[in-house]
Amino acid sequence: MIHRIERRVREGAGDPVARGILADALDLGIEGLSGVVVSDLFWIEGELSADEVGRARRELFVDPVAEEAVDGVGEQGAGAGGGAPSAHWVTILRKPGVMDPVEGSARRALAELGLTVGGVRAGRQYGLQGSISLDQCKLLVRRLLANPVVDEVHLGRHDLQKLALGRKYVMERAEVPLLDATDADLTRLSKERGLALSIAEMHAIREHFRGQRRNPSDVELETIAQTWSEHCKHKTLTGPIAYKDVVIENLLKHTIFRVTEELDKDWCLSVFQDNAGVIEFDEEYAVCFKVETHNHPSALDPYGGSATGVGGVVRDCLGCGLGARPVLNTDVFCVGPLDFAMERVPEGVLHPRRVLKGLVAGVRDYGNRMGIPTASGAVFSDPRYLANPLVFCGTVGVLPKSRVKKGPRPGDLILLAGGRTGRDGIHGATFSSEGLTPDSEAASGGAVQIGNAITEKKLVDTVLQVAEKGLLSSITDCGAGGLSSAVGEMAAGLGAVVDLDRVPLKYEGLSPTEIWISEAQERMVLAVHPKHLNEAIWIFGREEVDATVIGHFTEDKRLHLRYGGQRLANLDLEFLHHGLPRVRLTAEWDAPAFSEPMVVKRENYGEHLRRILGSVNVCSKEAILRQYDHEVQGGMALKPLVGAANDGPGDAVVLRPVLSSHKGLAVSCGMAPRFGDIDPYAMAASAIDEALRNVIAVGGNLDRVALLDNFCWGNTRRSRQLGGLVRAAQACYDVALAYGAPFISGKDSLNNEFALPAGYAEDWLCDLVPAGVAPGGPGARRPVRGRAGAAAAPAGAGGVAGATGAPGGVGGAAGAAGAAEPWTLAIPPSLLISAICVMPDVTKSVSMDLKRSGSPVYLVGRTKNELGGSHYYGLLGAVGNAVPQVDAVKGRDILEALSIAMERGLVLACHDLCEGGLAVAAAEMAFAGDQGLEMELASVPSAVDAQRDDILLFSESNTRFLVEVSPESQKAFEDLMWSCLSAGEMAPPIVPRPSHMEWALVGWTTDHKRLSIHGLEGKPVVDESLADLKAAWQGGLKL
């Protein structure tokens, strides 16, 4: 029997959820909505008496003070609450199989009350009041209330008759006829089964099984597909690439790994082999850091996508070494323009504002529940992220140095711990390796999952106990590819036997293949010696965490899968891990030429400054940060928001991962997607420079700083896309090596392209790319009129537009033939660099807010004529060409000089110059410190060709800092700068021209609450009140 319980906020108490919906409806242009009555619904299956249901309602479901129960589904219940009758009712439930954590909790709590029930389902009901049409109601549902990927929607006050989930699975062992398959068969097979395997790969598999004289089982084929996916194997970055006249055998090894190898730092304890990179922290502890992307799932369901993105990377950390404790989360989002016209959003795509809201809510709900501070991050906006938002989630963990090394031994048992396995997330690894299409939402719904943070929290709590007792020989997380990847990787070099029927399931009806590849969340795979098994299971059991032996490791180098006594797979692990055919790709790159803007000399640049401050990339992210519990765990020593009113933009966070020590970690990120259109090399170099600048600005150093790379790119089967990637990777090598900062971990997400639905005209796309695109762009030699698909697809790396004004980033589908292939929209080349630095003493940290009046302010680092890709040019509607470069030799001197200055306590405030250049940095420091600032552009150390007010104000040249020094430290600071940064012949008393200097005194802090910058002619070119600047900066992002 099903019992229905409905609860809502008590009349008169005011429901913030309802208020939020009303406001959002107005945004959608629905003005007739006068009120919303929101109810939570619960259906309980079980033989309960009316008294028992009443008790459950009273004691569990309905808060006696703030909430009230509503009886019955009839109209009399409908009228209650909120006064006016509702015009429309909508009931929304999670689809069966999409697990809702509330349901598990409710079951457990009912058991506390002594009520045993069969199942619980939860839902939400909205009563929409006022004069709105059915169409408007449906619009509200589609745009605001429900996501068809995970929700089922019923118009009306819906009731459930049964809760049943799944049915019993009837075993069938399916063979896939491969031995005699033709190429057409192979292609069809790969497509039908969602394997994302190329024809060359299918050939390799066919040959392998021909050698075995048998067909593969479906499980075997799936296992190979998962293992060989781009997501798991990084085929592009590790495969041979023909570029210019050389063949790069393995781009990753040739660039990123090589930095680390050549630097050979003894404090790098584990790089590029474990789930995260590990560096030494102190005598006792190591720290690990991993950043993952979760782009495709987040495009379909931003909330579930970002939440499980957090969950996944936290498990990477937990599965690093023999278990690390997560201490910090980071997040970076790239989304479309938040003010994008609603009616221009293509089908199958969510509006950027909804995407961002969902992403933030997902990170918030998962990260906060896990008790991990989310404190470091950024938001970028570009029209090309519209259909393909990027979500980067990172986790820093701490583990004893003794637990860094791991490895299972033959005979160890395979213990699966954590959540149960369901049909969620099937084919995530292969799905994420392909491009998105409008149909992705329907076809790949199963790839989207809803996380349960508390299940994962319990898992972290217990795994760490098991790890501390030394009961593990290895551990890894179940991520993309599920058990197939986790066990497959752990068993490499050994062998394993797995009994799939032992895997605990959420509901009946999963086939063994589904069990094997399900990416159900919150699971870890542990290798445990049989003698430790009982203790391990006991520890898990004490805190109600499922832990089940599902097999053991062997020595026969084969992977055996069994189910119900049948043998389903007997795979050669050597073939599985090394049988992947290498495909040579071609890369090319020619510098594009963009138009330069019409620059008009102005008397005043205040308006430009305020507009840049209000842009999404620059503006205050307080609306996001305040939703994150960024101080939990009690280790945050320099918070993401700093300054007189706790709301200024800190450069990096500093935390103490070990509470009894004042040793700390500075964590930052750098990203410069706007430069990538001009040159991905400069983009990557700038991202590294920025990440390091941010670490230095808070008092970090280059002695122990490590980097992480996350490449997100368009379709790299296109040679120009790949050429851009090669250039970016080369910059990583050059710049990181010069700075002495090794890479310790990385990840790539390629194929971030969206196949546009038929009927979207080219001119529709034109607006999505940087304006002012000019003749001479990459498309110029490759005309793009007409459907692409042939090799002439115009997708320049960076999605640069072609000469005809056709949109950048738009091209034919990869390797496709024929005119029927759709246009695609590629993201701009996007490289996120994350940096982590060990700081000996967090009490030497410096924040970016100006501290007092009357102190000298220095600009360290030279300003060049580099407005290409700048925000200033963006305002002028152009991209330009002079993209900021990095001189890492000089740069290193600058970073080290500042590091020493901070160590000696000479610096009151320090802020790096990046987006918006000097003007933005000065404004941010001033309003964050509520302290006036007066500066002279004539004093700015700058190149000879940069002697123009707008260049000095807005150039985004790298390796520059604005530094406030106390008057009493002025001499010491200047002496230090002279000794570190000035050539001998220019030592005092000769006063050199600014164009020869790497640093100079450029201004003073004042008592007035204004930012005044005098131009080269001595007249003020910026003279704004701090209140106005701050208001502009704070107004950029409302969620």
Partner: protein, 297 residues
């Protein structure tokens, strides 16, 4: 010297346990983190401590309302022992989620609890002896004690913030009564909050009056000049700016702000401007608890 003994109760979704432990350990208290399942197996273990802390977090995901499910476990399974623990003169502290748990369990404001009419603390308070076996009258556990506490009404609640979202920010607090043992000597505090459901609402105007008259509202959100806080000074819309409440004996305290997050000078959001303070505000609460607990040893 015997150290005061503090137990921090932990369960699925607890997440401020370690920093709370650290705050106590700075003050030389002995701290055990104990999972509720262990306490349910051996409830008498509770009586080996002088201070019980229910820390911040999202117990059981706060899925049916913040702190709801843990509050049921306390009501149904530990009521008897909790009552005795307080009657014995020991302290209970609920921070954030812990406050939500105590309110929903009916322990705060706790007008009708058996010890509520007890005289103000003095020599009359009975001494709790660590490790003492449970007394026969209350050691029955199960039904007897459980029914008793389950019958006590929930007199207030902590519900969704007016802003409709989770809020993490630093706020000013005024110590508005000297009734709580945890706040002795305090006048104002600067602490962070981080919660989505922190709006304190009394069940009725009567409860509201009684709270005020009894001096049990011990912490209020304060404006810059000490006046009404307004948003965001009052980050959740709590009635009467209520941020923390104690029981009639002053030995149970629940508060939404996180004192353990201002236990080190580098916790202050503006230490890079204002310098490192000697005595972080949050420590007051732990110092008082430890000092009080020492008198019980």
């Amino acid at each position: 010297m015997n150290m005061p003994r503090v137990v921090i109760l932990r369960t699925a979704g607890t997440n401020c346990d370690r920093e709370t432990q650290h705050a106590f350990e700075r003050l030389d208290a002995h701290v055990d983190l104990i999972h509720i399942n262990r306490l349910l197996e051996t409830p008498v273990a509770l009586h080996a401590y002088q201070v019980l802390v229910i820390p911040g977090g999202f117990t059981y995901g706060d899925d049916l309302g913040a702190g709801k499910i843990l509050s049921l476990e306390l009501r149904y399974k530990l009521a008897d022992h909790l009552v005795r623990f307080v009657q014995d003169g020991n302290l209970v502290l609920g921070i954030c989620n812990g406050f939500q748990v105590l309110v929903k369990a009916g322990l705060l404001p706790g007008f009708t609890l058996p010890f509520s009419r007890e005289k103000k603390r003095g020599t009359s308070v009975r001494r709790g002896r660590p490790g003492r076996p449970a007394r026969a009258s209350s050691a029955r556990g199960g039904a007897g004690g459980a029914t008793a506490l389950a019958a006590w009404p929930q007199e207030a609640t902590l519900t969704g913030n007016d802003s409709g979202r989770f809020e993490a920010r630093w706020i000013r607090l005024k110590v508005s009564s000297d009734k709580s043992e945890f706040l002795k000597g305090g006048t104002s505090l600067y602490l962070p909050v981080a919660h989505g459901e922190g709006k304190f609402v009394p069940a009725s105007p009567l409860v509201r009056d009684q709270l005020r008259d009894s001096g049990q509202v011990v912490l209020r959100y304060a404006g810059p000049e000490g006046g009404p806080a307004g948003y965001p000074g009052n980050p959740n819309g709590s009635v009467d700016d209520i941020a923390g409440v104690c029981d009639p004996t002053g030995r149970i305290l629940g508060l939404m702000p996180h004192p353990e997050r201002f236990a080190d000078p580098t916790h202050h959001p503006r230490w890079t401007r204002e310098g490192l303070v000697e005595s972080p505000d949050g420590l007051l609460i732990f110092e008082n608890a430890v000092r009080y607990a020492k008198t019980k040893l």
